[in-house]
């Protein structure tokens, strides 16, 4: 299924996001899902092999905002990532560290993948995402006024 285009992000930019997600897949072979969501819950890029991740993208935005709220409440500083460990796998949600600070990456893998490995590879992916969006910085691709 095709992704619904988001008016604030050009297809050139989302293509670059897709490339970064493919590199993540290369470094974490066991990756089951990866998508980039806006912090207000829209899916803007996903692994080509993935089905519709709209709901997961929305959930990642909620989870990440709760992570922020808990970090603030417990004086932990800004929330960098949220980790979920299930019986059969794990998922990480990370802030994409660009100037807009309006995107989050969610990546999931089965329990065969080591958590540190998943986190480090996802962080590298986030840096690539941030670089891409920094390079594409333009009023019509980042902010709606």
């Amino acid at each position: 299924m095709n992704l619904i285009p988001h008016p604030s992000f050009s297809s050139t930019l989302t293509n670059e996001f897709n490339r970064a997600l493919l590199q993540l897949k290369d470094s974490v072979p066991d990756l089951s899902t990866a998508c980039v969501a806006t912090r207000d819950g829209f899916e803007i890029a996903r692994l080509e092999s993935d089905n519709d991740q709209r709901k997961l993208a929305a959930m990642a935005s909620s989870m990440h905002a709760l992570g922020d709220a808990i970090a603030a409440e417990a004086s932990l500083g800004a929330c960098r990532n949220v980790i979920i460990e299930g019986n059969a796998g794990k998922a990480v949600m990370l802030t994409v560290p660009d100037a807009a600070a309006n995107k989050v990456l969610i990546a999931a893998a089965s329990s065969d993948t080591n958590l540190a490995m998943l986190l480090i590879s996802s962080r590298t992916c986030c840096e690539q995402l941030a670089n891409a969006s920094q390079n594409h910085f333009a009023p019509d691709t980042e902010f709606v006024t």
């Binding site: 806006t38 207000d40 709901k55 909620s62 905002a65 709760l66």
Partner: protein, 176 residues
């Protein structure tokens, strides 16, 4: 043992005043999960709730009330369900200026059908200041056509007294 605290949930579509109402009422600094809107932002509305709002208030009789607010977008419906678990009552806010507020009413009475059917819900209609005639009539009509018995008020979410009126009406309808 203290009685279980009352849990009230503000829900309704985007921009109906849920976050504003909770802030008016809460006596603690509310927990917020506001994020910048990447679509649909307007001069008056640039952020949106993506998980929940949380606050607390003590009633005149000393009872503690936990206040929760939901997101408004329909794609956040799973959050509405999580937040509403164990809720004593639902405060449904509807923006009278929306294109089709009766459709919003239908959606939220369905989403919170358990509460709506047993009368554990009160409606607050916001943004009525420009309305002609009786702005509440269409909501009353919609509800009575479907057999709901729920109180409906015109409220301004920025006005604490209006919000308190809704809480009291809900408390009263839960008692009887």
């Amino acid at each position: 043992m203290n009685p279980a605290p009352i849990k009230l949930v503000f829900t309704g579509p985007v921009g109906s005043g849920k976050t504003t109402a909770l802030h008016q009422l809460s006596e603690i600094t509310p927990v917020v999960t506001e994020q910048a809107m990447t679509v649909g932002a307007t001069v008056n509305k640039t952020t949106t709730t993506v998980a929940l709002d949380y606050g607390e208030v003590t009633l005149e009789n000393g009872e503690k009330v936990l206040l929760f607010g939901t997101p408004g977008q329909r794609y956040y419906d799973y959050m509405c369900k999580i937040v509403a678990q164990g809720a004593t009552g639902i405060m449904l806010l509807l923006n009278n200026d929306n294109a089709d507020p009766q459709n919003d009413l239908a959606y939220f009475t369905e989403l919170f059908a358990d509460h709506a059917k047993r009368g554990a819900m009160v409606l607050g209609i916001t943004h009525t200041e420009g309305a002609r005639n009786n702005p509440l009539q269409r909501y009353h009509a919609w509800l009575s056509d479907r057999g709901y018995m729920l109180p409906v008020f015109a409220v301004d979410a920025r006005n604490r007294d209006d919000v308190i009126l809704m809480v009291e009406a809900l408390a009263a309808s839960l008692e009887y």
